[in-house]
């Protein structure tokens, strides 16, 4: 993408956000939509997040044990390494990347389909701020529910590491539990949740942008959906780097 085009998209994105962050016409309808989106975005993603968290936790544990085969490294280091990997990066970032794929494509295709079938025009003609009506509830819902999803992912990651790590015979229950308690820094959880709040904004905002400005027919809506996922991931990784630099360095 050339710089002029990038600047154009950044400018148009912020103009859209200025439309999005206005006072909703009817607060009751707005909150109804927020709760609907919390269910669709958050609760609806718990299944996939749970499965991935359990197995990723297990894989991290087994890989750590494989890497720490030296007699000089205590076995509890496996639990410690798994804990830090899960809290610092796996739960907030990898789960958000997965949600960017699942939620981002769903948001972009829903809004894109509304655009090409003139439903957004219908809202605008009625005098409804379509950007505010459609996008703000998704952003509020994501920013609200993503931290809960990530905390659940952290828990299930540890649980998967513990149960499957012990079952695989790479770590004992005592060593694993001792490892995850050893030198625990609550700030790491705070850092992970701060990142998640940003990701909770980035994913619905970037995806909605691509859906809102979709043109053409079903083919273009599909392309907008793909672009939404790709750009959500790029922006998410960029902010992951910036926030890590700001909060941990």
């Amino acid at each position: 993408m050339n710089p002029a085009k990038l600047l154009y998209h950044v400018g148009r994105f912020w103009l859209l956000m200025m439309q999005v962050f206005r006072k909703p016409d009817k607060p009751r309808i707005f909150w109804d939509r927020v709760f609907f989106e919390v269910n669709a975005i958050g609760i609806g993603s718990l299944g996939i997040v749970s499965i991935i968290s359990v197995f990723m936790g297990a894989v991290i544990t087994i890989q750590s044990a494989f890497g720490f085969e030296s007699p000089w490294i205590p076995l509890y280091a496996v639990g410690l390494a798994a804990r830090d990997s899960i809290i610092l990066e796996f739960a907030p970032t990898i789960v958000s990347l997965i949600l960017a794929g699942k939620v981002g494509s769903s948001i972009a295709s829903e809004i894109g389909n509304m655009r090409v079938s003139e439903q957004i025009d219908a809202l605008d003609v009625m005098g409804v701020n379509s950007a505010n009506f459609l996008i703000l509830p998704k952003i509020v819902a994501s920013v609200f529910i993503f931290p809960f999803v990530v905390v659940i992912s952290m828990f299930l990651g540890h649980l998967g590491g513990f149960v499957l790590g012990v079952a695989a015979g790479v770590v004992t229950p005592y060593e694993f539990v001792y490892g995850i308690q050893y030198d625990f820094r609550p700030y790491n959880v705070f850092y992970a949740l701060i990142k998640t709040l940003f990701f909770g904004f980035i994913i619905p905002a970037v995806s909605s942008y691509h859906g809102y400005y979709a043109k053409g027919g079903s083919l273009e809506v599909g392309q907008a959906s793909t672009r939404a996922v790709v750009y959500s991931i790029i922006v998410l990784l960029l902010f992951n780097f910036i926030l890590t630099q700001l909060l941990l360095a």
């Binding site: 309808i29 509304m114 079938s117 003139e118 219908a122 605008d124 003609v125 009625m126 005098g127």
Partner: protein, 253 residues
């Protein structure tokens, strides 16, 4: 009444509308007709603010919509009902919720009151039995009728219909035309219909503007259009062999 003055719109080098002026009268079905690609839909989109024209004025009962600020535009829009070509019903809502939508957004009506109004509007378009269905379960004609019910739910002053007969069989087209005509008179609305269907023109065209290559080539009534000598209009009106034969017979008599 809506008065459009000297509207110009271009997309890059392509001029779609040139100095279009017209008065859309209250209580009448005002038709904008013309061949495909002559700027009819663009004109409507300029009038309702979906596209910004390069220059010109759109006066809703004297208030210039284009120069109005965000809140004033919002106020005018709340008096606009629009029937889109494909219906543009909200997929995720039932028929009843579609009709109730504007009532929920812009009025303080209670649930019972909204439901009664929605049912009244659905009965008006002969679809009371479809209230619990979803748009995906409706036929093309039913979608248009629900869209009309949704448009009239808030008792708008202005009704825009973008090709209300496209994709419909002749019988359903006549039903839709009659419905538009009846509700225009009933609610004393300023109705703007975009069409290239000659049946509609002859059925409901109280006042007609003919667009040709973005320019208003002719204006008149449905009675006058049959006798017009303007070549572009005449070619449009008598496009079929059947109507050409009809014209020859008229001339001979």
């Amino acid at each position: 009444m809506i008065e459009v003055k000297n509207i110009n719109k271009a997309f890059g080098e392509k001029h779609v509308l040139r100095d279009f002026s017209f008065v859309f009268e209250r209580g009448k079905a005002n038709l904008i007709i013309g061949e495909s690609g002559t700027g009819k839909s663009v004109l409507t989109k300029c009038m309702v603010g979906l596209i910004a024209p390069e220059s010109g004025e759109v006066l809703y009962d004297g208030v210039d919509f284009i120069k109005a600020d965000y809140n004033a535009q919002k106020e005018i829009r709340r008096n606009i009902g629009m029937l889109f070509q494909g219906g543009a019903l909200f997929d995720s809502m039932s028929v009843e919720d579609n009709v109730k939508f504007a009532l929920s957004m812009f009025t303080n009506m209670g649930e019972k009151e909204k439901q009664e109004r929605a049912m009244f509007c659905l009965e008006r378009v002969n679809l009371p039995h479809a209230s619990k269905l979803y748009p995906a379960e409706l036929s093309g004609g039913m979608k248009k009728r629900v869209a009309i019910a949704r448009a009239i739910a808030v008792k708008p002053k202005y009704l825009f219909c973008d090709e209300p007969n496209s994709g419909l069989d002749p019988k359903t087209s006549i039903l839709i035309d009659e419905l538009i005509k009846e509700i225009t008179e009933e609610y004393n609305m300023t109705t703007i219909v975009i069409t290239h269907d000659m049946n509609s023109v002859l059925e409901i065209g109280d006042k007609i503007a003919f667009l040709h290559k973005g320019v208003k080539a002719w204006e008149g009534t449905r009675y006058e259009i049959l006798k017009t000598t303007t070549k572009e209009v005449s070619d449009f009106v008598y496009a079929t062999k059947f109507l050409q034969a009809f014209r020859s017979r008229l001339e001979n008599e």
